[in-house]
């Protein structure tokens, strides 16, 4: 028999131990030897996540859906893996800007908006109160069950009908007292409660131990290990579905939604934010917590299924599975074990309630009450000497009110929901903070209006799909609201919104609320540009990992203030001594002796604001500081200046880029031009070198022979005549060379004179044959003319055309077979042009020389027939002349001996078409 007073005494003793630990922790902190400054304590304190909902509720859920209880722990495990990116950033921001709660965080991010802070607070309070009431319910229920030991009576049948006989009310009041003791003993600028954290870590150890002991007792005491339990359960038909994945109530969609939901809540539940962010002393503790915390979750879940299955097999229907942790030891008459289980549940419940209530009371005080009080001028709050007592009292009131609200919800909602469902509804409420917070730290363009719209729409949908239905189930609203929708509108049924079915209630509510939330947040943020204050806060938050070296530096600020005013203001909220200390510490950091020596600059104003923010939240601090500072907010002009400057810098750098690109291009062009010049230079050099060579060769002969004749008057007449002949010939060669060089230069430079007229090519060919007839006779060669009759005229310069023909004919005669050589010249019409061909029967041109002979000073066949008499300029000049008249000159490739040089000239005008046709007919 367990007497009531024993249970109460043990409970109080346990709470006493907790308090002692907290007290010890605080003392150590004051002495500067923090007990919580290690990652193990930090990780254990994070396990405040596991409440009575875990301690009792997991077994309950496992009893109905097998491993369906797992997503709630898988989520945090997955989330922990991402903490290094998200949580570390949140912690860094919160420490840099003295953020005291999740509401403060959201408000600060979006331009220190009081409205937003208030909204977050309201959502948090409304969302979390059912969760607190759940703890009260579990503690009082477990107390009631234990009181009936060894009989097993369900609390539903044992609940008192009058509030004053209800243990839950007393539990709520005791917890309120305890929370006030823990949480509001003093007002710290950082809102840290080291003793509290130590106590919470201790509680985590207790509840884990209690659950493990009970689990081990069931598994190894009642049964023979895990295998035995699962084998026996397998034999019971109604238990078999629990051992299969995807059994009732745990479809894959539900799994996914629950996992996501708990990922978000492990970060954004007010108590988790309080422990993980606000109470964090060193962000590097996160590194260990990332694996320790999931390990804790794994351990506390190891025995969930054995206890659930064991309980189901032990008890007939009628014993609530939520109580198995307590009732299974009771059924085996192990009262000490039952009592330990009760203490475990108590520790899970108190830990949650205390931390959650402190977090909420801070939010209520800083983000809901203070902003209102500061606005009520008749309170003259600004002028009171010390407001810190008032702040503490507000928080105490808030704590009491929150716990009483929790109790009220417990009384009213009663038994409508199982433990798990209530917890999940709370989860879904705090999940609404996710877009505003995650967006706030990663997305620069998120705006206050966007956050406001997102939170409001998400919260509204949450109310409609989750909160109102819970009211309906409690009988506050007609049940038809659930079945048929409001006013019978089928599409608006809160659990099948817009006809969307296939998900359980929680997943359904989460889906619609997050959809509305995200869409509104992103949509509104994009639609409107952020204001100056918002933009500057946004960049401070998003870029926190880059520039927290100087968090005391505000981005843009202009104004004037006095040190005394700031000190007095800070003193009113922190207490005069604490404020004096803080200012003195700042002065020392800046290398000054006294507070009076501080310069009232932007940094000091920012410092005071940060100190105040620790006590009353960022948004209220902002309002207060601006009341003692003549602030010149950055006006539109200034903002435009900043933007202008930025855009000028951008424009300038664009200009620079362009210039350097142009410079690169110009350099490349110059280099190419230089290369061309060098090439031209080389060509010119070659040309001059060639010309010199061609000039010097005849000159050498002329000079040598002249000197011979001059020095020796006795030279024989025969030699004398021979030498003079050579001299004359070489002189002619020189003249020709000079003329042709000048001629080519004139043609190439375009300064040659052309006397163009329409002429008969056949006539010119005959003249050329006449002019070269002496050459042919000298060589003993024969020239044959095959000229078509009545050909159209061409437009050309007669003398130049003559020059070309003479050049080709003299080349031909030079190379044709000696003595009986034959040269043939042909003229015919080919399409719209006339073609002249000069063919010799000489050795032909070797393939490598076919193109080079058209270059200047290149002559072919030198060794075969002795040195040909030529300047090496004839063909290049001829080609340029023909090209000038729009024709071409080339060497025909043809089998057999001899070379055939051809050129074509375009027919003068279409007016001669008749003649052409006639010729063609004759030719055919």
């Amino acid at each position: 028999m367990l007497r009531g007073w024993v249970i109460v005494a043990v409970s109080f003793a346990y709470l006493g131990v907790l308090f002692a630990i907290a007290h010890w922790g605080d003392r150590r902190a004051e002495a500067g030897r923090s007990v919580i400054a290690n990652p193990w304590i930090y990780s254990l304190s994070l396990a405040v996540y596991c409440t009575t909902w875990t301690f009792y509720g997991s077994v309950g859920r496992a009893a109905s859906s097998g491993i369906g209880f797992l997503p709630v722990y898988l989520g945090p495990t997955l989330a922990a893996a991402l903490w290094w990116y998200a949580m570390r950033k949140i912690i860094r921001i919160s420490h840099a800007y003295r953020i005291t709660s999740i509401a403060d965080f959201v408000a600060s991010r979006y331009g220190k908006s009081q409205l937003l802070g208030g909204l977050v607070t309201i959502i948090a309070v409304l969302g979390v109160i059912p969760y607190i009431s759940l703890q009260l319910k579990a503690i009082s229920g477990s107390f009631a069950i234990l009181l009936h030991y060894p009989e097993i009576v369900m609390p539903a049948q044992a609940v008192a009908h009058h509030a004053f006989q209800d243990s839950a009310l007393y539990i709520a009041m005791i917890l309120a007292a305890f929370t006030i003791l823990f949480g509001t003993r003093h007002l710290d600028a950082t809102e840290r409660h080291e003793g509290l954290v130590a106590a919470i870590a201790f509680e985590s150890v207790v509840k884990l131990l209690a659950f493990l002991v009970v689990g081990a007792f069931v598994t190894f005491g009642i049964y023979q290990g895990f295998g035995d339990i699962f084998r026996k359960a397998q034999e019971v038909a109604r238990l078999r579905p629990l051992l299969e994945v995807g059994s009732a109530g745990a479809g894959y969609g539900t799994w996914a939604f629950l996992t996501v939901l708990s990922m978000l809540s492990v970060m954004f539940l007010p108590r988790q934010f309080q422990i993980a962010v606000v109470e964090n002393v060193d962000e590097n503790h996160l590194a260990k917590a990332i694996w320790l915390f999931p390990l804790y979750l794994l351990l506390i879940n190891v025995f969930v299924l054995p206890v659930a299955l064991g309980g189901l097999m032990l008890f007939p229907a009628g014993v609530d599975a939520d109580t198995f942790v307590l009732t299974v030891p009771m059924s085996q008459h192990r009262q000490e074990l039952a009592l330990f289980a009760f203490i475990g549940g108590l520790s899970a419940g108190t830990g949650m309630v205390i931390v959650e209530t402190i977090a909420l009371s801070t939010m209520v005080c800083n983000d809901l009450v203070m902003p209102v009080l500061l606005r009520l001028r008749w309170l003259r709050l600004n002028e009171r000497q010390d407001v810190s007592r008032l702040l503490v009292n507000i928080r105490r009131l808030a704590i009491t009110a929150i716990l009483l609200l929790g109790y009220a919800y417990f009384r009213i909602a009663g038994e409508a929901y199982a433990l798990v469902a209530i917890g999940l509804i709370s989860f879904a409420a705090v999940a609404q903070f996710a877009p505003a917070i995650l967006g706030g730290i990663f997305w620069r363009s998120g705006t206050r209006a966007g956050a406001m719209a997102g939170l409001l729409s998400g919260f509204a949908v949450w109310c409609y799909t989750l909160l109102l239905p819970s009211f309906a189930r409690s009988g506050w609203l007609p049940h038809s609201f659930l079945e048929e929708g409001p006013l019978g509108i089928w599409l608006l049924r809160p659990h099948q919104l817009f006809g969307f079915t296939g998900l359980d209630d929680i997943s359904h509510g989460l889906f619609w609320s997050m959809l509305a939330n995200c869409a509104a947040y992103v949509g509104v943020s994009i639609a409107r540009r952020p204001g100056v204050a918002e933009a500057s806060q946004a960049s401070l938050f998003v870029d926190v990992l880059r520039h927290t070296q100087s968090p005391e530096r505000p981005p843009y600020w202009r104004g004037s203030a006095s040190v005394e005013d700031l000190l007095a203001l800070t003193g009113r909220f922190l207490g005069p001594e604490r404020a004096q200390e803080a200012f003195l510490a700042l002065a020392r950091r800046r290398g000054r002796e006294a507070v009076a020596e501080l310069r009232p600059d932007a940094e000091l104003v920012h410092f005071a604001e940060t100190q105040l923010a620790g006590a009353i939240g960022g948004a209220s601090a902002r309002v207060l500081v601006s009341s003692v500072v003549q602030e010149e907010p950055p006006g539109l002009d200034e903002v435009m200046d900043i933007l202008d400057e930025a855009s000028q810098v951008r424009a300038y750098s664009r200009q620079l880029e362009q210039q350097s690109r142009e410079l690169r291009e110009a350099t490349a062009e110059l280099r190419a031009a230089n290369a061309r010049l060098q090439e031209l230079d080389r060509l010119k050099d070659d040309f001059i070198s060639n010309v010199t060579h061609e000039l010097r060769t005849p000159l050498t002969a002329i000079r040598a022979l002249s000197e011979i004749l001059h020095d020796d008057p006795r030279t024989r007449l025969e030699d004398r005549r021979r030498f003079l002949g050579v001299i004359v010939k070489e002189a002619e060669r020189l003249t020709r060379l000079i003329n042709q060089t000048l001629d080519l230069a004139k043609i190439e430079s375009g300064s040659a004179e052309w006397h163009t007229s329409e002429l008969d090519v056949a006539e010119v060919v005959r003249e050329a044959a006449e002019a070269t007839s002496q050459l042919f006779r000298d060589r003993g060669a024969r020239l044959s003319l095959r000229l078509a009759e009545g050909l159209p005229r061409v437009r050309a310069d007669r003398d130049r055309l003559m020059q070309v023909l003479v050049n080709l004919l003299s080349n031909a005669v030079k190379f044709c077979a000696p003595e009986r050589g034959l040269v043939e010249i042909r003229l015919a019409e080919r399409g719209a042009e006339l073609r002249v061909e000069v063919q010799d029967d000489g050795p032909g041109v070797a393939p490598p020389d076919r193109e080079t002979i058209f270059e200047r000073f290149r002559q072919a066949g030198e060794t075969l027939t002795g040195k040909p008499r030529g300047t090496g300029l004839g063909l290049p000049i001829s080609r340029r002349i023909v090209e000038h008249f729009g024709g071409r000159l080339w060497l025909e490739e043809r089998a057999g001996p001899g070379a055939t040089f051809c050129f074509s000239l375009p027919v003068a005008s279409p007016g001669r078409a008749g003649a052409t046709t006639m010729v063609t007919a004759r030719g055919g």
């Binding site: 070198s689 010199t692 060579h693 061609e694 010097r696 060769t697 005849p698 000159l699 050498t700 002969a701 002329i702 000079r703 040598a704 022979l705 000197e707 011979i708 020095d711 020796d712 030699d719 030498f723 050579v726 010939k729 070489e730 030198e862 060794t863 002795g866 040195k867």
Partner: protein, 124 residues
């Protein structure tokens, strides 16, 4: 005994003038119009001096000079190079290849003869 001189040039009028000039001074003169013919003559009837033009068809004077210097049988033969191109680099190249003297066309017949005599160890 009269020294034998080989004149190598592809310009008939220059060969004519050099041949007449050297013969008048008492040298025995052979002529060649290109490099291969010159090497052939050297092999058949080694001269004491080669007057060598650089701009020769198919094989340049430089190449002829290089082959002469690589041939131990032609070791004592003096080489006097002639060119119509006036670049210093060519003069250097010729001397590096082992030519004894380098003259630019058109040259003074008196100077040429002086150089030939000096190279052949005859004092004027």
């Amino acid at each position: 005994m009269a020294h034998r001189v080989l004149v190598v040039d592809d310009e008939p009028s220059i060969v004519l003038s050099l041949q007449y000039l050297l013969q008048r001074e008492g040298f025995e003169v052979d002529t060649a119009a290109d490099g291969e013919a010159a090497l052939e003559v050297v092999a058949r009837r080694p001269p004491a001096l080669v007057v060598l033009d650089i701009m020769l068809p198919t094989m340049s004077g430089f190449e002829v000079c290089r082959r002469l210097r690589a041939d131990p049988a032609a070791a004592g033969i003096k080489v006097l190079m002639l060119t119509a191109r006036g670049r210093d680099t060519e003069a250097q190249k010729g001397l590096r290849l082992g030519a004894d003297l380098y003259l630019t066309k058109p040259f003074s017949t008196h100077e040429l003869l002086e150089h030939v005599r000096r190279l052949l160890g005859q004092t004027p």
